[in-house]
Symmetry: C2
Subunit: 289 residues, 2 copies
């Protein structure tokens, strides 16, 4: 099965459990709405690519890890879009969850997705519990406090923000979970895979900053120019568009160079080169093609 189809099937199965018999109908509907249709699924793609490069001997473990990471990413989008944060009405080209279902269900859908991410890991743990304990640690660290995406979002509530802490937590953490989690799910030592996640997370952030400046809202599927409006740090504003492009290219090179030795290292490096173009703004991707 193609990786993209494998991810969608695993996500459908996981979300179906949370929408099981007896679920409140609106919550069940909101849960599906928050996860489908697919975004780029960059994080679970990365997780499975790393697992695959490491031999991927246990697809139940790698699927559960990829699913948990994507559910947590979707939860963070639902909560970040709330009126008390970004107050974003548009997400992935459709109304954001709180616009479609109301704030209460958006809060609850996010909560339920967080819980269900860990339930998914716990469910897969029945086969190889020792490995899953490590995976729960990796995933929880990437999403909680002090260094996960929740902490990253909380930095926006502070007056003084250490920029690197903010970006590492808000964007980088789930990329690190994807690379370390993919390796751990395949039975490899996760620590050597941290750098790859960090570099790709930072590359993604720079690309996102460039998109916020360069793209139109239709391409982006959400409003543009938000960083300037919200006085948020933006690499393109800080380094200039050319400087940010150079930084992006450098990060992708560093990411490729950081891939540890493993059975599928060569293919993984090629895949990263190709896949990172996906999250470049279109006009950059064309120029780089």
């Amino acid at each position: 099965m193609q990786t993209a189809a494998r991810i969608e099937e695993a996500l459908e199965q996981a979300v179906a459990l949370a929408r099981g018999p007896g679920a409140p109908p609106l919550l069940a509907s909101a849960l599906h709405y928050a996860v489908f249709p697919a975004g780029h699924r960059i994080r679970p793609q990365l997780c499975l690519a790393v697992a695959n490069a490491c031999g991927d001997p246990d697809r139940i473990a790698s699927d559960a890890t990829a699913v948990a990471i994507e559910l947590l990413h979707c939860a963070s989008l639902v909560h970040d879009d709330l009126p008390c944060f970004d107050d974003a009405g548009l997400r992935r080209g459709k109304a954001s969850v709180h616009v479609e279902y109301g704030e209460a269900l958006a809060v609850l859908a996010g909560d339920a997705l967080i819980v269900h991410a860990f339930a998914t890991l716990g469910g897969a743990a029945r086969r190889n519990p020792a490995q899953m304990a490590a995976l729960i640690g990796i995933v929880a660290q990437s999403v909680g406090s002090p260094h996960g995406i929740v902490a990253g979002q909380a930095w926006e509530c502070e007056v003084a923000v250490p920029l690197s802490d903010y970006q590492r937590a808000k964007t980088g953490a789930l990329f690190v979970a994807a690379t370390m989690g993919g390796a751990a799910a395949a039975g490899h030592d996760p620590e050597p895979w941290r750098a790859l996640g960090e570099k790709l997370g930072e590359a993604y952030q720079v690309a996102d900053d460039l998109r916020d400046v360069l793209c139109d809202a239709e391409e982006l599927g959400k409003p543009i120019g938000q960083d300037a409006i919200r006085l948020r740090p933006n690499a393109a504003a800080e380094l200039g568009v050319d400087g940010a492009k150079a930084r992006l290219e450098g990060l992708v090179k560093a990411a490729v160079a950081s891939v540890p030795d493993c059975p599928g290292a060569l293919e993984l490096r090629q895949l990263i080169e190709a896949q990172t173009r996906l999250f470049f703004p279109k006009q950059l991707a064309r120029a780089a093609a």
Copy 2:
């Protein structure tokens, strides 16, 4: 160590990890504020009482379970108090988290507490991962969708609410996690402990409904008469005060009778008799004393 002190110490240690070096200061502050000072800690008390009755051979497992359940309870209070739900300004006799820290940090503190509950279970899993996989399942089920407290809260967003589903999910689920989790943490089969959690959860709900009708706001530490204002089901309104009192007494008796055979069954039954008086409204507790 007394159980109450043991719970506070375990909670302090767990929350300290989430507030560790590098945490955004306001989030770190809000996390402590949301968990301390202690409420009655009824759920972790129940969890440890059951673990104790089962011999409690592994205090790391039972502490982690009690902590996870209380962190999830605190998270649910923080999110339930938000303006889009109960819009409650007062909780445990002080300003609720969103009043003190703003809505954004209240959403994030709740999220971080949910993640940290599972991180706590995952951390303890390193000693006995097989057992912890079961515990993660029990705890996740009690808090997620379709049957946990998040689903219970989501029933309030529906037009037609099956009353038993609503109350079982909203209040009962974490009591079931406490009894089943306490047993599983002590290496016992959790399933026979489900009924005890269900009966005590329902008893607590009836007591809470009575308090909402009978108490003053000072005793309750939060506004009274909220069920009538919000048109929420209330046993005292439905059965009358005397009917609700009789129902409460019956549920406590049924709970005591449901305690499975175990080394400390006798003491546990006595403890339940005594402890349930704690969550009776004061004037009932006096009458029953």
